[in-house]
């Protein structure tokens, strides 16, 4: 479904992403992991085109998308969240969510901002994430975790085909995280493809079908969770033996 071929992103001398190639299969949950500064977020940025790749190709459903503007990519069904939540202050949470719903054509532009159905849909998503009580709160008056949840809610509003989640569980309460995991899985069951960056190994191992490991801008290993967790490179570069501790 999503194919990344030889993607590079250089900042001056820094090769943040350096020839990354991987695929995300339709209907699967793929995890992208790696140490801090490995280039995961940068790869996300290049895929969703919020940053222009230095070179390389990105294909979505057999169509090349690395030259499209971000909104076009979103329109093609690829949505993302940001590691450090970007939310729209001065707009209520529900507006933040509804803004993400699709607008078709020029006439669609002048339809009412928030139709009944959209509002209901947004409320049900908020409900689903357990944040209905802040529906009318201002976007920038939220706590860190609330912002993350709002981002996720907004993402779901646009009925994407594939979602890119950048550390969705970072800063989210463990209890809630359990639910989010459940929801992601439920969405995935309905056919949504997921690419997820996370440092919570437990979550990754339970959730993903495939894991891609990056370090220093390169893919060092890819495969099923079980294969990856045993890979010595991964252990050394990333996990640092932590998993063993927890398993024990």
């Amino acid at each position: 479904m999503l194919e990344v071929k030889n993607l590079c992103k250089h900042f001056g001398g820094i090769k943040a992403v350096d020839g990354v190639t991987f695929t995300v299969e339709k209907g699967a949950i793929t995890a992208l992991i790696g140490p801090n500064g490995a280039g995961k977020t940068t790869a996300f940025n290049c895929i969703s085109r919020t940053a222009a790749p230095t070179s390389g190709e990105v294909w979505l459903d057999g169509e090349r998308i690395d030259h499209l503007r971000p909104h076009k990519i979103t329109a093609k069904g690829l949505s993302r969240t940001f590691q450090i939540s970007r939310n729209l202050g001065d707009m209520t949470v529900i507006e933040n969510v509804v803004v993400q719903s699709r607008v078709d054509g020029l006439r669609g532009l002048f339809r009412p901002a928030m139709s009944r159905e959209e509002k209901d849909k947004a409320m049900s998503i908020l409900d689903f994430l357990g944040i209905t009580r802040i529906a009318h709160e201002d976007g920038h008056n939220l706590s860190y975790g609330q912002k993350k949840l709002m981002d996720l809610a907004a993402l779901l509003m646009s009925d994407p085909k594939i979602i890119l989640l950048d550390e969705p569980a970072g800063g989210v309460n463990p209890s809630l995280m359990e639910e989010i995991v459940g929801h992601i899985r439920a969405l995935n069951d309905k056919g949504l493809t997921v690419l997820i960056v996370e440092h919570n190994m437990d979550l990754i191992m339970r959730l993903s079908h495939k894991v891609v490991v990056m370090a220093h801008g390169k893919v060092i290993c890819a495969g099923t969770p079980d294969v990856v967790r045993k890979d010595p490179h991964v252990l050394d570069a990333y996990l640092g033996g932590v998993l063993e501790d927890e398993a024990a």
Binding site: A51, A52, G89, H140
Partner: protein
């Protein structure tokens, strides 16, 4: 050849003064995120101080520069406390200040108008209308002195910002007010200080301007757009950029003025602004924005 050299000299000489006029603007923006539309009006304030001293006590305008700078800096402290302190934490700060300073510009103009009437003034020390003649070319003394003094002040200021502890604190406060506060910077004090320095620069520029251009309270409207163009060309907030921008634009304007027509020389400034926005929106020395 002599002609080209001459035009170059005249452009550079004017550019030096414009650089000083713009640098305070750039500093206040860079440090405080305040787009100070009142800057030219305050420059005129400094010019009046200098003019009064020149007229009544016959004090040389350049000698008056420190006095004008300090006096205007004091004004800056008061203005900051009255106008900007309250809002300094707001997210919309930068935008709001554009309007606030627009209002300030009107107030300064009104006040100066009330005090000094709208008659045009200019100080005329001997050097203001004299020049060094070197063969075929000449260097106007007034502009030369003004330019040199400007560059000296700007250099001193840049060093201060780059290396002194207060300079550090000023830069840190600019970038992240909250963080600076958490690291022990008294951001209130730093803000006042930075603003005062900026307005002090306006005062200093006023002293130099007093013998380079003639002025009256309403004159500042003519300067603001030109100064802003210079600042944007150089990159908002970069003092080095402002200097380079001022010099480049003044030189280009001088050539355009001579070869194409005086009408079009002012156009140079604004056209350059558009071109720079087109090809390099962050300006010559500005920081690149997040998304191109």
């Amino acid at each position: 050849m002599a002609e080209i050299l001459q035009i170059l000299i005249l452009g550079l000489a004017l550019g030096g003064v414009i650089a000083l006029m713009g640098s305070g603007l750039s500093l206040v923006f860079g440090v405080m995120r305040i787009v100070n539309l009142a800057h030219p009006a305050l420059i005129i304030g400094g010019a009046y101080i200098t003019y009064l001293a020149f007229k009544t006590f016959d004090i040389d305008p350049i000698a008056m520069l420190p006095v004008a700078a300090v006096a205007m800096a004091a004004v800056g402290v008061v203005l900051y406390r009255l106008l900007f302190q309250r809002e300094a934490k707001s997210a919309k700060y930068s935008e709001m200040t554009v309007l606030l300073t627009f209002a300030l510009a009107m107030m300064v103009e009104g006040l100066l108008g009330g005090l000094f009437t709208n008659t045009q003034r200019v100080t005329s020390p001997d050097y203001a209308t004299a020049a060094f003649f070197i063969g075929d070319v000449f260097i106007p003394k007034g502009q030369l002195y003004a330019g040199l003094v400007s560059l000296a002040i700007i250099a001193a200021l840049s060093l201060f910002l780059k290396y002194s502890r207060l300079g550090y604190a000023i830069r840190a406060t600019t970038q992240n007010r909250e963080a600076a506060e958490l690291l022990g910077v008294n951001v209130q004090f730093i803000s006042v200080l930075a603003f005062a320095i900026g307005i002090g620069l306006a005062g200093a520029a006023g002293s130099l301007v007093s013998f380079v251009f003639s002025f009256f309270p309403a004159k500042h409207w003519e300067w603001i757009a030109m100064l802003m163009s210079v600042v944007v060309l150089g990159g908002m907030g970069s003092i080095l950029g402002t200097v380079v921008g001022a010099l480049i634009l003044s030189v280009v304007a001088a050539f355009v003025g001579t070869w194409i027509g005086a009408t079009w020389s002012t156009l140079t400034f604004f056209l350059a602004l558009f071109i720079i926005l087109l090809v390099r929106p962050q300006g010559l020395f500005g920081e690149k924005p997040e998304m191109a």
